[in-house]
């Protein structure tokens, strides 16, 4: 509904360029979480789009183009990154890739000290997640992927995707404990109650 998948119009370079212009920023944003080297990220994106063009005749219609492109890009990155990892460690472990996400409190609309504290605490809690947990949270709650899509992209079963999300949220909230978060929520609740009276 949101986009016309360019491959319905298979030869059109213009449509291909539009697709590129539309998703470059999002893809860059995603890829840079795996690899801080921006030049390298650019190469990954380049490779992904060239592959997309070459395979344009054999592609099926994707329900969500952005999610499709993210999946394609992820495959390319992990092939390269894991190759590197293998080169160094010889053995590929499950958690052998990095996924970084930053939550900078200072750039957001934060008026009260309390909110600032909450935000910093959240940043800390989030940074304690494993790369896989960070990635699945990113794909689920920022990119809005459903569990089937998560499973396909992360190469796990749907059941495992449910588990990983549950585990990630649990860890995130555990790490937020011991901080006056709950007091803050109670305060917020009181304020809303007072407001409605």
């Amino acid at each position: 509904m949101r986009h016309t998948w360019l491959l319905s119009d298979k030869e059109d370079k213009k449509a291909f360029t539009c697709l590129y212009e539309q998703y470059f920023n999002q893809l860059f944003n995603y890829a840079v979480r795996f690899c801080a080297d921006r030049e390298q990220v650019k190469e990954y994106i380049q490779e992904m789009f060239i592959k997309l063009w070459r395979n344009r005749h054999s592609l099926n219609k994707a329900a969500n183009i952005e999610h499709y492109l993210i999946g394609a890009l992820r495959n390319i990155i992990l092939k390269k990154q894991s190759y590197k990892t293998r080169f160094v460690f010889e053995e590929l472990e499950e958690e052998s890739y990095d996924f970084e996400m930053a939550y900078p409190a200072e750039h957001r609309i934060i008026k009260t000290e309390q909110q600032k504290l909450l935000h910093n605490q959240f940043k800390k809690a989030f940074s304690k997640l494993t790369p896989r947990q960070k990635e699945i949270i990113y794909l689920r709650y920022l990119k809005g992927m459903n569990y089937e899509e998560l499973a396909a992209i992360m190469n796990i079963t749907v059941k495992a995707a449910y588990k990983l999300i549950a585990r990630s949220l649990e860890t995130l909230r555990e790490n937020l404990q011991g901080f006056p978060v709950n007091k803050f929520f109670v305060g917020l609740l009181l304020l809303t109650l007072i407001g409605t009276l």
């Binding site: 539009c18 996400m101 939550y103 750039h107 609309i109 949270i137 929520f185």
Partner: protein, 345 residues
């Protein structure tokens, strides 16, 4: 289903599709259900609030915006590879090689005759050059015009341009809606600069290589300059804009205002970045950028209050909510009018 929600923890709520729909779109179809459910289960308010807060925190992560030059560089590389591959794709070429000599001659004759016919046709026609149309519906899109000017069209906007514009004395386009233009510097064959003209309702913008934003919607006309210089002409007057200035229509007149250009191009990224931005600047933006009529009922001192931070503009409801919390004002929406007043509680 309703029963099981009673035992939900904040985590459980965050894993519930129906609940997430509501958080994503608080005014949507799910809102009635959840508001009703919360009224019936007041003891779950804390859990819901915590889930909502965690979701809000998750949404604040930093987006890294790559430079435009990066985007252009990668595209150029991709296109080079694609072009070189499509040039080599074999079948067409081998067929030509198999043509018999006689056919070859015939082909050449036809080609020359065709070229001559086209040339004659163009010499004899004085009708205006064909106009091409660029149109957007639900997404912001970027296009490159034949003279290599980069145009970003807002949702539901149109741009008409002359197909032959690159070779003309004047480059001319017609905008309906909102657009941001990065006009390329060009000199014609005679070494003179080739002006670029944007036609709008009742006025024109004359440009020589610059970056600026235009809005042409019904009675709302606005030109905002980021870099370079432009001249705005309507029937009666002419205004010269410097970077960081904006021209808007006020009745039949043109009015010049000083503004922060970054605020007026947020529709391209969907993100507004405030940096010690005053309420007055935000009111101007809502009026001249978003096209609302704003009624402000507080003392003038309030309008000097400032905020910093970034906020998404994709959902207007959310934007107003954020602004109302950040400035501590109440924002009421009535059709196209925004009423800003003191918080009543």
């Amino acid at each position: 289903m309703q029963n099981s929600y009673e035992h939900y923890s904040p985590d459980d709520f965050l894993q519930d599709e129906y609940f997430l729909e509501w958080l994503k779109n608080p005014q949507g179809a799910q809102s009635a259900f959840w508001e009703n459910w919360l009224a019936l289960h007041p003891h779950k308010q804390a859990a819901v609030e915590e889930a909502r807060q965690l979701y809000a925190l998750l949404q604040t992560h930093e987006e890294i915006t790559p430079a435009q030059s990066d985007r252009e560089e990668v595209l150029a590389k991709i296109m080079t590879v694609i072009e070189s591959e499509s040039g080599e794709s074999g079948s067409g070429r081998s067929r030509i090689r198999r043509l018999r000599p006689l056919l070859k001659i015939a082909a050449v004759v036809l080609l020359v005759a065709g070229a001559a016919a086209i040339l004659l046709y163009y010499r004899n026609t004085k009708t205006p050059a064909a106009l091409a149309l660029l149109q957007t519906k639900e997404a912001v899109q970027q296009f490159r015009l034949p003279d290599s000017t980069l145009i970003t069209l807002d949702r539901d906007s149109r741009c008409r341009y002359e197909k032959q514009m690159a070779g003309k004395v004047k480059r001319e386009i017609w905008i309906d809606g909102e657009a941001f233009l990065d006009v390329s510097h060009r000199t014609g064959g005679d070494g003179k600069r080739q002006p670029f003209i944007v036609h709008m309702n009742g006025m024109d913008v004359e440009v020589l290589g610059t970056r600026f934003n235009v809005i042409n919607r019904n009675t709302q006309q606005q030109i905002m300059l980021e870099r370079g210089s432009v001249k705005v002409n309507n029937e009666t007057e002419s205004l010269l804009l410097r970077p960081g200035e904006m021209a808007v229509t006020a009745g039949k007149n043109l009015v010049k205002k000083k503004i922060n250009p970054a605020l007026y191009t947020s529709w391209m990224t969907g993100v507004l970045a405030f940096d010690a931005t005053s309420l007055q600047e935000v009111i101007d933006l809502l009026q001249y950028g978003f096209g609302y009529h704003v009624v402000f009922t507080m003392d003038p001192g309030k309008s000097r209050e400032k905020i910093s931070g970034t906020v998404s503009t994709r959902n207007r409801e959310d934007l107003f909510k954020t602004l109302s919390v950040a400035f501590g004002v109440s924002i009421k929406v009535q059709n196209n009018t925004l009423i800003l007043s003191h918080k009543t509680n």
